[in-house]
Amino acid sequence: MSALIQLDRVSVKFRIYHNPNPSLKDAAVNWLTGNKKLNDYRDFFALHEITVKIDPGDRVGFIGLNGAGKSTLLKTISGIYKPHQGKISVVGRITPLMELGAGFDPEQSGRKNIFLNGALLGFSPSEMLKKEKEIAEFSELNDFLDLPVKYYSSGMYGRLAFSIAAMTEPEILMIDEVFATGDGHFVEKSTQRIQQMVEKSSILIVVSHDINQIRRLCNRVIHLDQGNVIGDGEPESIIEQYKQKITSIK
């Protein structure tokens, strides 16, 4: 199965409202007094006319300063943000190695959360049943799996979350700022696991500030700046451009 990502002049704008907590009362008061100020907002483009095509086999690294739009771009590709302009077309199951544990219910046991989390990724209980054992083994949580997640240490929480995310067959693998949680042993194990997933995936997308990691994983780098693509191509030349950008700020 070949995955594909195509963005055609995609823009996403965020509105910064003068009044971040809108209410019907304010709306009524504004309407009566003719005061427009509270409804004021300022548009700012988190992504501005991005045109990118990512083919199977591409290992793409997104680099850029904070606020360049890297994470927004990933969320747009995932379908969380719908663009205000432009066209987007993504084919393939996305495995996000980001926002891990987003769907955890702290009151439920670790085991139950495997199924809850799987359902959020679009897996049926029977599919998760097949993966359950593997997830349990990989997380090494043993008896803790039957304990509510709220009693977990943050390391255990991270281990379970990673184990669930890492059991899916990635067509499009998205990694945002690779995290490594848990003890040294688990970090090593998860790093290996990520490597395996990277090899199996059809498309890899990495967001990172770690240039060495980008060099190691990617065969293509895209440089974002204030919502615009300012570089796209061979890793070395784009990384060079990014470094110059950083020094130019200083």
Binding site: P83, G86, V90, V91, I94, A102, F115, L120, L121, G122
Partner: protein, 281 residues
């Protein structure tokens, strides 16, 4: 992420607004893909509601039962009506009313409360109004059991008209779904809507013949009652459970009409604003 032909795709073109039919079909398909998430949200919601009490979900039977008995004692002596007869009248109206208020109040907050999910993973927004409604309907069914236990206890007569109860419930649920769809989106844009709703529902409660028989009202008040859409749904339940007679054709038609309007508005609001919600959470 939209699933068509078992392939995960995310296609979106900002220059084209999807048509109403396309929007409805997409949502039905997406609910199909995320049905396990829907089911999980409902079951964890129910289990955490009753987890901390020793007799668990029995509270959902006992709580409405005791509340209703107290109210029945007070109001039947106030109106000097026979206790058993009045209590059946009261319960058959109060239970659907509880479904109405809890669905609308919960529904108005459902997307706001789901912010943590919506901002982190892709999940169709329509799932959350459905979760709220699903939870409240199941609660209603629990309390319905307690109603029937009481009714049996008071020696109420059962009639075949009771078979119409599922249809009345279905109609009320769809009517509520339409309103919840609108409210869940609108509350994101007007955060004080749920407070206003609370007061509004309190007013509507007294404009619905639940605590009093309709025959006690006349003139202007009666006209206001007839303007209250919930009155017609409560009437369905009154006639099926309390009067033990099938509701008349006009009564059904009014409720069907109201349901069509509410669903239509709900879908329109959802279609128009669904994409913008994420930017205002």
């Amino acid at each position: 992420m939209i699933d068509s032909d078992n392939q995960f795709v995310n296609n979106f073109d900002a220059s084209k607004r999807s048509g109403l039919i396309e929007f409805i079909l997409r949502n039905i398909r997406e609910v199909g893909v995320y049905r396990f998430a829907l089911y999980n949200f409902i079951s964890t919601n129910l289990s955490s509601r009753y987890r901390r009490s020793t007799i668990g979900f029995l509270w959902s039977l006992l709580n409405p039962m005791f509340t209703m008995v107290i109210m029945a004692v007070v109001f039947s002596s106030l109106y000097k009506l026979p206790f058993t007869e009045f209590s059946l009248y009261l319960f058959s109206g109060l239970l659907p009313w509880n479904l109405i208020t809890s669905s609308l109040l919960g529904g108005s907050m459902t997307i706001i409360n789901a912010e943590g999910y919506l901002k982190k993973v892709y999940i169709p927004k329509i799932v959350f109004p459905l979760v709220t409604l699903g939870v409240e309907i199941i609660n209603f069914l629990f309390s319905l059991v307690s109603l029937f236990i009481l009714a049996f206890f008071f020696g109420a007569k059962f009639d075949w008209s009771l078979l119409l109860l599922p249809f009345a419930l279905l109609l009320l649920s769809l009517f509520l779904l339409g309103i919840v769809l609108s409210l869940s989106i609108l509350t994101v844009f007007f955060r004080d809507l749920s407070h206003i709703l609370q007061i509004g529902l309190l007013g509507l409660f007294y404009l619905t013949p639940i605590l009093y028989p309709l025959s006690l009202m006349s003139g202007k008040v009666l006209a206001f009652i007839k303007l209250n859409p919930f009155y017609y749904f409560i009437t369905l339940f009154h006639s099926i459970i309390y009067e033990a007679r099938p509701p008349g054709r006009v009564e059904w038609l009014i409720c069907i009409g109201l349901t069509v309007v509410s669903i239509f508005i709900g879908i329109l609001v959802f279609q128009k604003k669904e994409q913008d919600v994420i930017y205002r959470l």
